[in-house]
Symmetry: C2
Subunit: 301 residues, 2 copies
């Protein structure tokens, strides 16, 4: 069934993630032709100009005809759009086509795939490349976006092991460091290290912006606030979808964080500089150890 | 009274801020000799090697003998150390010596100065250069640290207007953009845009680090968490002092933030993606407008 020539890749969502994946796949010669599908013609034209894709369709054009002989389909849209996309691709997939995604949440995406894909569901390999996302669009795509980045796959007991291997090869060719987690564990970990921090950044800026004298605050705000809130540059719709999709878990982490703030408020109330200083020092050490370890693992892989 | 030759500057705390001020003062030829005072001989030696200071004393040496003919004294230590320093310098200041500081909180520093300086209090000009501070030490000092940065002075009704003018000239010569605020207003604004964000970053890392399976979280954490928590690289003792000094106001802002989180939790609980999306979009727009405005004012000044 597998073609001897490199197969075709269909990327739905040719933004930062989808576009970077396409560039890396072409660079590694894992796929031949690349078809891009997206909402806006402007972004697709950009993807064509940069030779990220060979052909491009908007979602209201006849793109599903490209699926029958595709080796891979990558869905790289906001997770809220994926249920409709799984329903759209299901009737048109080839019998060997492998489907994967780059969604930031996994349990909801898997539920949508299970509901729509039928017999093709075992050839769906859920994935999540953990790479920066405040920049967006094909213009920001880069062949090296995934170099040294964690890529988590969350296959299910029924997922075809050959499909897992092939998707793993793709991400390894992108320079990613592939690991496997259960969907539940992925969503729990990402809630704490990504979804909650985004929400906290949006919340802080929103609270300041709502003050009647907000302009006075912006005037004295420095690089600290800028970096602390860089996550609030991220796409509002994408992060709304993520937080709603993973709401149950995000609320668990938000609750833990609010309890941590309550403990700190108590330290401030009683002027307990010793306890506050210990907390700050422990946090600084933990962060330094994390980043040293992260650099270490990059060096090794 | 004023010497015809450029006067002498005594910098207590020759770290990032004090060292950078010294470099900029020497570059602008506003002062002649520069005397550095600090806790650690190692850092002072670094300051001497880099020609940041001409002479250097540790705090247990006879540095106060340098004060009688000093034109300026800058205190650039953590705010918690300032009460003892004001008490140490008070008996030795020259009759024309102008004292200023670079503390991140102003009401507590002013109270300490008022208690110690006596007749010299009108020649104390409270100040705060708003410049990054996760890096530290004379090794990190830079002549351009304050270029385009806000520098807030918070003089009191009794502060000598000539002293204000001279300190303003110093910071302008450093490339800073000087503005005047009341101490109360300064502490309120900085609480929201700096003190609280630091506390929130330390809190998030601390909460994650306390989990028994913290290593799993670090493994999948990306650049988002790294940037969001960069403030937790800051010096724990310095930020403990700041948060305790400004605890009343920080608790007001922490309370406002916790209420904002409570509203977001309610949106998540009822799956209200529309409200969450609006909040995220408004926050992103407000942040973009702030940063566009900030760049604009840099261009103008």
């Amino acid at each position: 069934m597998a073609p001897s020539a490199p197969g075709k890749l269909v990327v739905v969502g040719t933004g930062l993630i989808g576009g970077s994946f396409a560039l890396a796949m072409k660079g590694a010669a894992i796929v031949g032709k690349i078809v891009g599908v997206g909402r806006s013609r402007g972004n697709l034209d950009q993807a064509l100009r940069r030779a990220i894709v060979d052909r491009a369709y908007t979602l209201d054009e006849a793109w599903t005809a490209e699926l029958a002989d595709a080796a891979f389909v990558l869905l790289a849209t906001p997770v809220g759009e994926m249920p409709a996309l799984f329903a759209a691709i299901a009737p048109h997939l080839g019998r060997a086509t492998i489907v994967t995604d780059a969604g930031s949440t996994k349990q909801d995406v898997i539920a949508a795939a299970r509901a729509a894909l039928g017999a093709a569901f075992p050839r769906f390999v859920p994935g999540h490349p953990i790479a920066g996302s405040e920049r967006s669009g094909a213009a920001a795509a880069s062949v090296s976006l995934f170099h040294g980045r964690q890529v988590v796959l969350t296959p299910l007991p029924e997922t075809d092991s050959n499909a897992i291997d092939r998707v793993r090869e793709c991400w390894t060719a992108c320079g990613g460091i592939v690991s496997l987690l259960s969907p539940e564990r992925h969503d729990a970990l990402l809630s704490a290290v990504s979804h909650l921090p985004h929400l906290l950044a949006f919340a802080l800026i929103g609270e300041l912006a709502d003050r009647p004298d907000a302009a006075d605050y912006w005037r004295v705000a420095g690089t600290g606030l800028r970096d602390f809130t860089r996550l609030a540059e991220s796409h509002p719709d994408m992060w709304r979808d993520i937080c709603i999709a993973n709401a149950t878990r995000v609320r668990v982490d938000l609750d833990a964080y609010r309890q941590a703030l309550e403990r700190i408020d108590a330290m401030l109330a009683r002027g307990d500089g010793a306890a506050l200083g210990r907390l700050f020092a422990r946090s600084r050490d933990a962060r330094a150890a994390w980043l040293t370890g992260a650099r270490g693992s990059d060096d090794v892989e």
